[in-house]
């Protein structure tokens, strides 16, 4: 007779049944963890290792960003050297600079306005709904409203904190921080706009305009400050300018196809 005893061994079948389920659970757990590791390229899902990997990536991004700035500076040097070559290449250089200005690839200075957006120092009333409480913080759509209003009133170059607005710029909310051009930032948000300073200021402040309509129900005017400045600096765009999909159309015939 086996040491377990034949009569009492019916429990073994119960255990076996659930062992089967346990095996399934173990396999699912193992496969999930393996897939996570495989997809992320990180050998473990434990927090300290992840934190390290994140810090490394962040450092790499910083280095690459610096590299872009350096390369752009070198490019400007080459363009200047080209300008000394003759009248034709001088013309070419002027055109290049014009385009670089348009594309936001050079830092620019001039008169303009600065808008500072900040979370309100007031606290929402205790019985406030979550939607109302949200109004006490600056959101991505607030920044978009101001940027659009500034462009429409004549701004030639705009930066949100140190991020230059270009043709492919984005401003969006990712949980608590806001990403501008994919770079996370938190309040205060300083929107620097170079252009006709008085026009832009009055456009912002006109009746029914962005500031007039801003959080009109709660009287949260402490969140917005506008400064009219004589001399402002807007930095160059420092992100990638690759175009993998769009190619220029060479002739009008091509458009008709």
């Amino acid at each position: 007779m086996s040491p377990l005893g034949l009569k009492k061994s019916s429990w073994i079948w119960h255990v076996t049944l659930l062992s089967f389920v346990l095996g399934m659970l173990l396999a699912a757990a193992l496969k999930t963890q393996q897939t996570i590791r495989f997809k992320s390229g990180i050998p473990t899902t434990r927090l300290p290792v992840l934190a390290k990997a994140w810090a490394d990536e962040k450092e790499r991004t910083e280095t690459l960003r610096k590299e872009i700035t350096d390369l752009r500076a070198k490019l400007t040097q080459y363009e200047n050297a080209l300008g000394q070559g003759g009248s034709q290449s001088g013309l070419l250089r002027n055109q290049l600079q014009e385009y670089a200005l348009q594309a936001g690839l050079v830092a620019v200075r001039g008169p303009g306005v600065q808008v500072v957006l900040q979370d309100s120092k007031k606290r929402p009333p205790p019985d406030a709904s979550p939607e109302l409480g949200d109004d006490y913080n600056i959101h991505d759509y607030d920044i978009r409203d101001f940027v659009s209003e500034l462009f429409v009133s004549g701004a030639e170059a705009i930066a949100v904190n140190d991020q230059r607005m270009i043709a492919t710029s984005s401003i969006r909310c990712v949980g608590s921080p806001i990403q501008v051009n994919g770079v996370p930032m938190s309040p205060p948000f300083v929107i620097t706009a170079i252009g006709p300073a008085d026009d832009m200021e009055s456009a912002l402040k006109m009746r029914g305009g962005v500031i007039d309509q801003f959080r009109i129900l709660e009287d949260l005017t402490d969140m917005v400050k506008v400064y009219n400045r004589k001399d402002l600096l807007v930095p160059a765009y420092s992100g990638s300018t690759r175009h993998d999909y769009a190619t220029p159309v060479e002739s009008k015939e091509e458009l008709k196809k």
């Binding site: 377990l4 119960h14 076996t16 062992s19 389920v21 757990a29 496969k31 999930t32």
Partner: protein, 119 residues
């Protein structure tokens, strides 16, 4: 020979899921691991109870279901309120798995010794 059946069960279940191309639930990945640990605790507890002649099918079956779900739910609740209940569950369940395994080992050794004496 009947004693290896639970092991066969684990292997069969493992193979069944591992080689199927199931979608991977990333959102509940950590809870899934915890549920597997709770399952390990229940199964080892069941074997222990069986060896101690205290096995009761309804307690065992309900314990498996409830503990597995509860471990995942508690960890989820902990995540929501910012307390790491996940660790508490791992410590409690892990400790019990060790305890169960050591008792199983002793029971087995005793029974084998008894069987030898009878023979």
């Amino acid at each position: 020979m009947i004693a290896v059946l639970p092991l066969v069960g684990v292997i069969l279940g493992f193979v069944a899921v591992y080689f199927l191309n199931l979608p991977v639930p990333f959102g509940i990945a950590s809870y899934l691991s915890l549920a597997a640990l709770a399952g390990l605790d229940s199964v080892s507890g069941g074997i222990r109870a069986g060896l101690e002649d205290k096995f009761e099918a309804d307690i065992f079956l309900s314990g498996f279901m409830v503990n597995t779900l509860l471990a995942g739910l508690l960890a989820y609740l902990g995540d929501q309120i910012g307390v790491d209940l996940f660790l508490a569950a791992v410590v409690a369940l892990g400790g019990r798995v060790f305890l169960n395994l050591s008792i199983i080992r002793r029971q087995w050794l005793t029974k084998i010794a008894l069987a030898k004496r009878e023979a």
